[in-house]
Amino acid sequence: MKIYKNIFLFCFILSLNIQSYEGVRNEIIFSKKPPLKLSEYGFFKNMNSQLPSKGVLPYTLESQLFSDYADKLRFIYIPENKFAKNVPDRVFDFPDGTALIKTFAYLNQHSSSNLPSQLLETRLLIKKNGEWSNVSYIWNKDQDEAFLSIAGKTIPTKFINNNGELKDVRYRVPNINQCKECHQINKTITPIGPKARNLNVDYAYGDETMNQLEKWHKLGWIDSEYPIKSMVDWADQNANLDDRARSYLDINCGHCHIEGGSADTSGLYLDFNESRKINLGFFKKPIATGRASNNLKYSIVPGNPEESILLYRMQSLDPGIMMPESGRALEHSEAIQLVSKWIKNL
């Protein structure tokens, strides 16, 4: 009997060890194969509440990618005493061992909401040996663990939008290949969001509110360079219209519509700094658009949003027409209004 008791005790202790990790486990970050469970990285003190471990810092982006109105909880982990180099207008050159952690959720926080919050998936970009790799985890029903995803998953669900309305959505967790579609420049995987120009904004950390770049500098992660021109929050009605539209197009389209990106075949480039009018789509004829042209002649007809293919493709929900090609199943009506207004005023 004593033997059984010992085995039981051993298993119990083992299970305790598996359940709770003290902080981030670098050996998991650097392991060759990703673990089957998200908790194994130790990024979170509490999985369900997404309370980050020591050394894992939440962050936000000034202009954000639309993902069917999903809320996003972003975190960054940089190993101790490591430094990220600023690359103008590009993502920081992060050190090996960096993890970018992004949880997609419907938090359903509207005051009239009677839906609980729902964690959908957590995507990781991890840098080792100078290269990024991407992996994603899908949350379980109990919302206390997320499991490795390979072929992605369709999650039909409901959420409460900012106006308190109940909406249906066929939320798609992308597969590994689809992640790469957007995260690749010249065949190299790269993050999209954390560029200095898109981080230059205050964040309410528990103990203080501070500009994110200052905070990162204070932590010794980056030096004190600042971007010449920062993006703006596309939803900020007080910001300049051109900056708002260009910030939106950059973060939602510019990762593929850039030289070396997945959509470079089209010659339509929507990066924040693109200045060539024809490449921005002004009176640009489509190349391989097919029926997505909607019988229109140009990507953008300045002054005339109804005649602009770009806007038409933002409005569509048909997989053969809609842009972006993946990651969206709903109309982003606020952005359609913004881009429409922008084109009208060009």
């Binding site: 072929a151 992605g152 579609e181 997945s262 997989p319």
Partner: protein
């Protein structure tokens, strides 16, 4: 040799063969074919074969391959059918982004966007693949059937492409290309080579498209200046389907009843083809028809050789409603449409000083094919008939272009 040595040798051999032979993963119809196929495509190792057994597979999301050297095969283009009729997400049926992939013996039907898109790879083989929109010509069909782009060493062999609202077989911004033994029917463009270098298009059959075979070059995209394209031993006949391309697309300008069009490009050799029964024109050689500020772009066709083709009657029912080409030609020719047309447009300098010899079009041994071109000087002056039908100025020796050799190490 001791028994032990023999045995260890045997095991060594077994060991080697185990690791050097690729695995074959077999997929059969199931409840959730998308997840099963896509997981196999992601978990495979380079060189593996994924075989999809005979059957109809209904897929709601697009499939993708990103592993080098993978072979995805079915059991026949009419037996293994990947149907995207109920597709809910993804812009293609299947997309490929890795090198050295072979696709063979299956069909992709009714994709919401393009059927098979291959981007930025070295060495892609399409063998006995069928892409089809099963409802026939319709502007709501996807744009391209077989669609390699920005790729090198492209082989398309014994494929079938039907019903694309742009091009059935479309090779864009690529280099080192062979398209052979294939059939393109009921597309707007049957086979299109666009902004590409070194392409051989031969032994193909293009029938019932709006235009049979197109060799195009367009401005404002990363690769341009298409050159070295050989189109030979093809049949481009009876391409009389009304143009059903959505407006805005360049192929929307192609008139119903076009055999072959060359637009811009240099070094194109068209020979030993059977071309006929096309309602508007058998071969048209034209300049890009729009203004562009692209400084790197050359809009005029140069060094075009057309020889030893067999023509049967065409131009009997020209499409005067689509684009400008047929309309202008019909007016100029007084309804007597030629087999071969060149718009005669050259840069201003060449209007005055003439075209350099090495850029001139050469016509030779085309039976009793009729020819028409426009003299740009006479065109600009009043009281002159700008139409020239004599091809005497274009007779000359043929300088054959070299054959394309596919080379993975390019």
């Amino acid at each position: 040799m001791t028994r032990f040595q023999k045995q260890s040798r045997f095991f060594l051999l077994l060991f080697i063969s185990f690791y050097s032979f690729s695995e074959t993963i077999i997929i059969t119809p199931s409840e959730d074919p998308y997840t099963e196929i896509q997981e196999a495509l992601i978990l495979a190792s380079p060189g593996d074969i994924i075989r999809i057994s005979e059957g109809l597979y209904q897929l709601e999301d697009s499939l993708s391959i990103d592993i080098d050297g993978l072979i995805l095969e079915g059991e026949g283009m009419n037996k293994t059918i990947l149907s995207f009729k109920n597709q809910l997400s993804g812009a293609q049926g299947l997309s490929v982004t890795s090198n050295g992939v072979t696709l063979r013996d299956f069909a992709v039907e009714d994709a919401k966007g393009d059927a098979i898109k291959v981007k930025g790879v070295n060495n892609i083989n399409f063998i006995r693949i069928r892409t089809e929109w099963t409802n026939g010509p319709d502007e709501l069909n996807g744009a391209y059937g077989l669609y390699p782009v920005e790729s090198k060493n492209v082989l398309i062999d014994s494929c079938v492409a039907i019903g694309a609202s742009d091009a059935g077989i479309y090779v864009g911004q690529s280099e080192n290309i062979i398209v052979k033994n294939s059939r393109a029917e009921f597309n707007v463009a049957g086979i299109e080579i666009e902004n590409s270098y070194y392409a051989d298009v031969y032994n193909n059959h293009a029938e019932n498209n709006t235009g049979g075979i197109l060799v195009f070059d367009l401005p404002d995209i990363p690769q341009q200046g298409g050159h070295h394209v050989r189109v030979f031993r093809n049949k481009s006949i009876n391409n009389n389907t009304d143009n059903f391309a959505p407006e805005g697309n360049i192929v929307g300008e192609v008139p119903r009843g076009t055999g072959i069009i060359i637009q811009a490009n240099s070094h194109v050799e068209i020979f030993d083809n059977d071309i006929g029964g096309n309602d508007t024109i058998n071969i048209a050689v034209v300049t890009y028809g729009y203004d562009t500020d692209d400084k790197n772009y050359y809009p005029h066709p140069r060094n075009i050789q057309i020889h030893n083709n067999r023509f049967t009657k065409s131009g009997l029912n020209p499409d005067l409603e689509t684009g400008e080409l047929a309309k202008i030609l019909y007016e100029l020719s007084g309804g007597n449409m030629p087999d071969i047309f060149w718009d005669g447009i050259v840069p201003v300098k060449q209007i005055i000083f003439g075209q350099p010899d090495k850029e001139k079009m050469v016509l030779s041994q085309n039976g009793d094919a009729t020819f028409l071109t426009i003299n740009p000087i006479k065109f600009m002056l009043p009281f002159f008939d700008p139409v020239e039908r004599d091809d005497i100025d274009y007779k000359g020796a043929i300088n054959p272009l070299p054959p394309v050799v596919l080379n993975e190490n390019l």
